[in-house]
Subunit: 487 residues, 2 copies
């Protein structure tokens, strides 16, 4: 880290006012605040503070004090600090907690060119750090959503891990990978193109409102149904259809609709806008004030089921260019799943559980705009400052290492984070002096060894060696000198 | 620290339940809690946590897991961590903040003897650390209150500092010192013992209720008045008198009364118990159900003013053994002030403002009792574990160092915490190579030097040298090589 930035420490608490300024007080869904825990304390001081989940709002005004001209840029600062997030599901110990350690870094640049050069250096130093922690193999940089920060994609460092909570879609030759939430995808075709059109029917089926029930009721596969969801996108009613065996990905849909806010219609709104109760929306009989969007997964379906916007009625053997027109354009807003195809290479994704161990958010000018951070260029013109941020979670990484490197006993620690490189154990009193000699010799050679001279049984000592995840043990016993390695 | 303990890190958050168990949830007056900061976050998780002000409640159950028998003791663990306290008056930047860094250590022992041996080692290592930070001179171990922790006294490391917020009362040869809150004191005698008794009077004086107004009304010195305060001590009404130029020290009074709770009577209670309105209480005419306590400051007064428990009336020229009896015993519950006398040596205290830089609390068995921490001794008997805790505030120490070591420009940093030992500055372009040569030579010798090769004016570089508090600067300019030292 010291190759790419300057270490600082910021406070965990910050005033409510700063978050109000950046308009994030009401929107960050994991934000925690502090207050007096009892009446006496609350009476002493009624102040409330934000417990920072990240530090953009703190670091931007701080660094701003040091930026006057282009000569002061770039600036990059980092810290190791506890972060606090009100996670709904804190789980897996170190992997996701409400309190965790983070190494967060923030860099400020005069323009995108300078930023991109710096970004390459950070990428390299992150990968170097992961290699030193035995996480280099099986770690790749992926594309993910920009979270609350940015409409652009962010970059994640992901490492392959069976219990990982992210699903990665990896492209050809592992040259790129997407987090599921942003994966562009093509559904594998299940439709026989030679199937002949059957006569259209509108069938009565009371309370048959989920794909699961439709599949059962009509005895058809899920992919033969068309699922239609109704949204309000920036106050505009829209209907979106996807193949029945897919879900809609709100993040992708938001980009397709190019809207700022997106929410599902309420039951009342559905009734008002379609005339039917919830569960019967479809591309047929849709009122013209509702704009219709189709996912490309339904482009080539023949004889499909869909809603007709009439309570308890279902279309069977619907077909494009017959009961309903072909939309001018098909989109991709499905949530990618296993066997989906990468649209540009036309190759099936490799889908695996991965675990995030680092990330990079292109904040661009978002926080510089809010806090008015600018600089004077060579011609004395005031220019906007570009900002990105970069994170690694040291406590999460400890969890990942334990998950990745263990045997049936305990952890196998990467040498860099083992408490010692080697432990020297005299197994019998006779061997004590000889064992100690090796200990002292290796200590003189600046080796990171420990000598287990405790008054414990041999089994207990070996148990501790395993428990502590020390890579090497040297045992001096009746059979002489014996070396064992973990991992 | 590593000579006396093992470094760990605990969490800043802890569950409400733990504090409930130690019965401190409602009593710690600086306790802070966390909750969701907005509706979305609060809906995701309604959990509330304590933001630890110290870690006794966390460390005791943690260490308990490692204590089985006497062989496992002593154990001592320490951490460097942020603490959170809802201070009414957060002030002086680093000296007292609602968030601050603390090095806190907790030691567990089989008995008092083991503890005292360990205590001596900690005292030494603390003083060593203070010496390394240039705070050894002018720092002494003092006696203070046990705060929320203990009825016994605690020990503070105090350093003399004009803006210090503690007032220390230092005894003969600086061999001991008390924090004002616990200072035993004898008031200097102002009473001429040969003064003859004057005739007693009960004088009408409407609304003359403070010492200040009495002094004015009767034209007498404050020390000729007797101030009487009414309390409820464990449900028992008591009256306590002290010389008019003193205040009562509740902490000392509590020990004199040997009570658990102590509070001032309300106006209504005063009326009920004395028959007079607030401001007229006194040793004369006091109802017998109120127990009376006298501070030794009033022991030898002649012709003094006091209340007679009658609204708007005041006793003048009151005298013991005449208008009122001599109490069986005089006590010491006055708040010590300048010119007060140390009772055992009979020498006037040296009184100065000092600043706390470390402390030791004898927790004894308080937390071991709560969490049931015990061990098996050699005879397989279960025994209580003794526990003390020890604190240093690194952020506060930074503030103390700045207050103690600065000139009219900026900080003079102790070498140990300066960012560099020396800065080498080429003042002219011609001198650049020669300056760099010295830099590289000293760098090769593992010296902690920095080379200021920035494209800035000489004045700016020297300004930064002062700002950063680097002890030494070497300037290469027209006049050759020049060395300047700070401090």
């Amino acid at each position: 880290m010291q190759k790419v930035g300057t270490e600082i420490v910021m406070t965990a608490l910050s005033p409510m006012e700063i978050r109000k300024k950046s308009d994030r007080l009401d929107t960050i869904d994991v934000l925690m605040k502090t207050s007096g825990a009892n009446t006496i304390s609350a009476n002493k001081s009624s102040n409330e503070y934000i417990l920072n989940p990240t530090h953009e709002d703190s670091v931007t005004p701080l660094v701003w004090q040091w930026i006057k001209s282009y000569k002061d840029l770039p600036i990059s600062v980092f810290q190791f600090q506890s972060k606090f997030r009100n996670e709904a599901r804190a789980k897996s110990g170190l992997l996701r907690g409400r309190e965790f350690r983070m190494k967060d870094m923030y860099s400020f640049h005069r323009d995108k060119e300078d930023l991109m050069q710096y970004y390459d250096r950070v990428k390299q130093s992150y990968m170097d750090a992961f290699h030193e922690l035995w996480l280099g193999e099986g770690t790749m940089i992926t594309v993910a959503s920009g979270w609350d920060f940015t409409d652009e994609f962010s970059h994640e460092f992901q490492t392959i891990l069976p219990i990982g909570e992210d699903t990665l879609f990896i492209g050809q030759d592992k040259s790129f990978a997407y987090n599921q939430e942003v994966t562009p995808s093509q559904a594998p075709n299940l439709q026989d193109p030679n199937e002949t059109m059957k006569p259209f029917e509108s069938v009565f089926g009371e309370n048959i409102v989920s794909v699961e029930r439709l599949v059962e009721f009509f005895d058809i596969p899920a992919w033969k149904t068309v699922k239609t969801m109704l949204y309000i996108a920036d106050d505009k009613p829209v209907a979106c259809s996807v193949r029945g065996d897919y879900e809609i990905n709100d993040l992708k849909l938001k980009k397709v609709l190019n809207c700022k806010t997106l929410r599902m219609m309420t039951e009342d709104e559905i009734l008002t806008h379609t005339g039917a109760q919830i569960g019967y929306a479809g591309p047929i009989g849709l009122r013209s004030q509702i704009e219709f969007f189709a996912d490309d997964s339904i482009a080539n379906l023949i004889n499909f089921e869909c809603g007709v916007n009439q309570t308890n009625y279902h279309a069977i053997n619907a077909n494009r260019d017959r009961e309903l027109p072909r939309p001018a354009e098909f989109h991709d807003f499905k949530l990618a799943k296993k066997w989906d195809i990468e649209p540009s290479s036309w190759i099936v994704y490799d889908v695996q559980p991965w675990c995030e161990i680092g990330n990079i958010f292109p904040l661009e000018t978002r926080f510089s705009d809010i806090f008015g951070v600018s600089y004077m260029d060579e011609t004395n013109q005031r220019q906007q400052v570009m900002m990105w941020c970069y994170g690694i979670g040291p406590s999460r990484i400890m969890g990942v290492i334990v998950e990745k490197y263990h045997d049936d006993k305990w952890i196998i620690r990467p040498t860099n984070i083992a408490p010692f490189d080697a432990m020297i154990v005299p197994a019998t009193p006779d061997a004590f002096e000889e064992a100690k000699k090796e200990y002292l010799t290796r200590l003189d050679a600046w080796e990171d060894v420990c000598f287990d001279d405790r008054d414990l049984r041999f089994g207990e000592k070996m148990g501790d060696w395993e428990l502590w995840g020390i890579p090497e043990v040297v045992i001096y016993g009746k059979k002489g000198r014996e070396v064992k390695m973990r991992g």
